[in-house]
């Protein structure tokens, strides 16, 4: 099966600019997650979707970050305006559901550098 697809792989922007990331999950996976991985740290959940509904966005900085999952398939994550501390790898993951037996499958991530 095809894996989780993410684009772009790399992005460099200046602070206060905006940026968007795209994710295409594995076909049939109802649950989609966006994680932020800062260098030297473990990934931190930003937002979780179940189909096109939000399950958890408690760690999403809503003043600058937004995400949507149109039609319960693809998803986009946007940052506007970006800050230096947003420099990180943004990982998208999907799973069949939220059951423990259903592991998360991760994409290769988008590495964002904010200068």
């Amino acid at each position: 099966e095809a894996g989780v697809a993410q684009s772009p792989r790399y992005k460099i922007i200046e602070k206060r600019q905006s940026v968007a990331f795209w994710c295409n999950p594995i076909s049939g996976h109802a649950t989609l997650y966006w994680y932020q991985q800062i260098l030297g740290q473990g990934p931190k959940l930003l937002i979780q979707f179940q189909n096109n509904g939000v399950v958890d966005d408690s760690q999403l900085p809503k003043d600058r970050f937004s995400a949507e999952r149109l039609k319960g398939v693809d998803s986009t994550l946007k940052i506007q305006p970006a800050k230096l501390e947003d420099s990180a790898v943004y990982l998208c993951a999907s799973s069949l559901g939220k059951e423990p037996n259903s592991p998360l499958h991760f994409g290769n991530g988008t590495r964002l550098t904010v200068t």
């Binding site: 030297g40 473990g42 939220k98 059951e99 423990p100 290769n108």
Partner: protein, 112 residues
């Protein structure tokens, strides 16, 4: 709140020797525990999981993990390390909502 801890930032082993990467957990209720591996410039790859059943779980690439309830540990092990096992390893606990909470990661360095 549920959490996992990886007490070692880095583990160094010689090729052919056994390796252990440590993980301890703190959860309320039944623990659902996972190990993932991350190679440079790549996403996380699933290695193995403990949901219920046998305390020794076997996974991909010859890795296994031992669940120990009394010590609240879930250490990753491999009998004979390969240079290609060098990577960043993450332990994680899964909440009932489905999300994974990760430890801070352990870099495994296997030297020839």
């Amino acid at each position: 709140a549920q959490s996992v801890a990886q007490p070692e930032d880095q583990v160094n082993v010689a090729e052919g020797n056994p390796l252990t990467v440590k993980c301890t957990y703190s959860v309320s209720g039944n623990p659902y525990l996972f190990w993932y591996v991350q190679y440079p410039n790549r996403g996380l790859q699933f290695l193995l999981k403990y949901i219920t059943g046998d305390n020794l779980v076997k996974g991909s690439y010859g890795f296994e993990a031992e669940f120990n309830k009394s010590q609240t540990s879930f250490h990753l092990k491999k009998p004979s390390a390969l240079v290609s096992d060098s990577a960043l390893y993450f332990c994680a606990v899964r909440e009932h909502t489905g999300k994974l909470i990760f430890g801070q990661g352990t870099t495994l360095q296997v030297k020839p």
